[in-house]
């Protein structure tokens, strides 16, 4: 393909793409419409943030209560739980690393 051929193709391409703008004119909404969209989206985001925070606090409170109860009621069970919480992620990480090495 010569440089001239390439230029002709690119000119035709640009003409075609420009004609799309005439075939599909775009109507831009007024400023109030954008403001309403942004306010609605911000409200949705704030609601989602509050829900996530509430869930986080709820889960944290449950974990804290269970840990505290175990610590005061059954020390041995508490220690087993602590050991498992350390070992399980470590074993899982090691196995994941081995799988990556094997590839």
């Amino acid at each position: 393909m010569s440089a001239n051929d390439e230029q002709n193709t690119l000119d035709e391409l640009n003409r075609g793409l420009r004609s799309l703008d005439d075939l599909h004119p775009v109507y831009t909404p007024d400023l109030q419409w954008f403001q309403a969209q942004i306010l609605a989206e911000k409200k949705k985001l704030r609601r989602r943030l509050i829900q996530d925070l509430l869930l986080f606090w709820l889960v944290a409170a449950v974990i804290f209560t269970v840990t505290l109860t175990l610590f005061t009621q059954s020390k041995s069970l508490y220690l087993i739980l602590q050991a498992l919480a350390t070992l399980v992620p470590a074993v899982w990480l090691l196995r994941a690393r081995k799988r990556v090495d094997a590839r």
Partner: protein
């Protein structure tokens, strides 16, 4: 709107000013829709992606660091949303949707007695991963590096996709050269 005004608006929008963000989005709305119509060749999909891009823009405006132009940032978000959309759908479904959209656009052009450029059919037959860099380079004038950043590709990949894509377009437009 001058460059400095736009920088001020961006600064205010990042600080949570709704009016500044509205002005920015209104200014770039038409550019964004037109870009999406060109890369998708599907006006209804372009409309949906524009809505999603605007939502993403509202969510992420505080992360915009100003290293690229605001319009390039919007294009990057829109392009990634389009790529995600393509990945979600099966290849066969994408192809069918594309053919249907092209047929509809041809029909609309005929109805309004406008000439339908054959180059758009040829462009529609290229895969999206080839079509996007060609349009970004040769219609919007982005550099290979900028296109690499927008599409998250190596510069070499961008160059070869553009080169091969133009070759395919040329072949399709001049069947005697096949």
């Amino acid at each position: 709107m001058e460059e400095k005004d736009e920088q001020d608006l961006i600064l205010q929008a990042r600080q949570g000013d709704t009016m500044a963000l509205s002005l920015l989005m209104q200014k770039h709305y038409s550019f964004l829709v037109k870009y999406l119509i060109k890369v998708t060749l599907n006006p209804s999909l372009a409309e949906d992606l524009t809505q999603e891009t605007m939502i993403r823009c509202i969510e992420k405006i505080h992360l915009y660091n100003g290293t690229s132009k605001f319009s390039s940032w919007l294009i990057t978000i829109a392009t990634n949303l389009y790529i995600d959309d393509l990945r979600k759908k099966k290849r066969e479904r994408n192809w069918q949707e594309q053919e249907q959209a092209l047929r509809k656009m041809r029909w609309q052009a005929a109805r309004s007695q406008e000439e339908w450029p054959l180059v758009l059919d040829a462009l529609g037959h290229l895969s999206e991963e080839v079509r996007m860099p060609i349009i970004l380079k040769h219609y919007y004038g982005y550099s290979y590096e900028e296109i690499g950043n927008i599409l998250n590709l190596a510069i070499g990949t961008v160059k070869s996709r553009i080169h091969n894509g133009i070759k395919s377009l040329r072949k399709e437009l001049s069947p005697d050269e096949r």
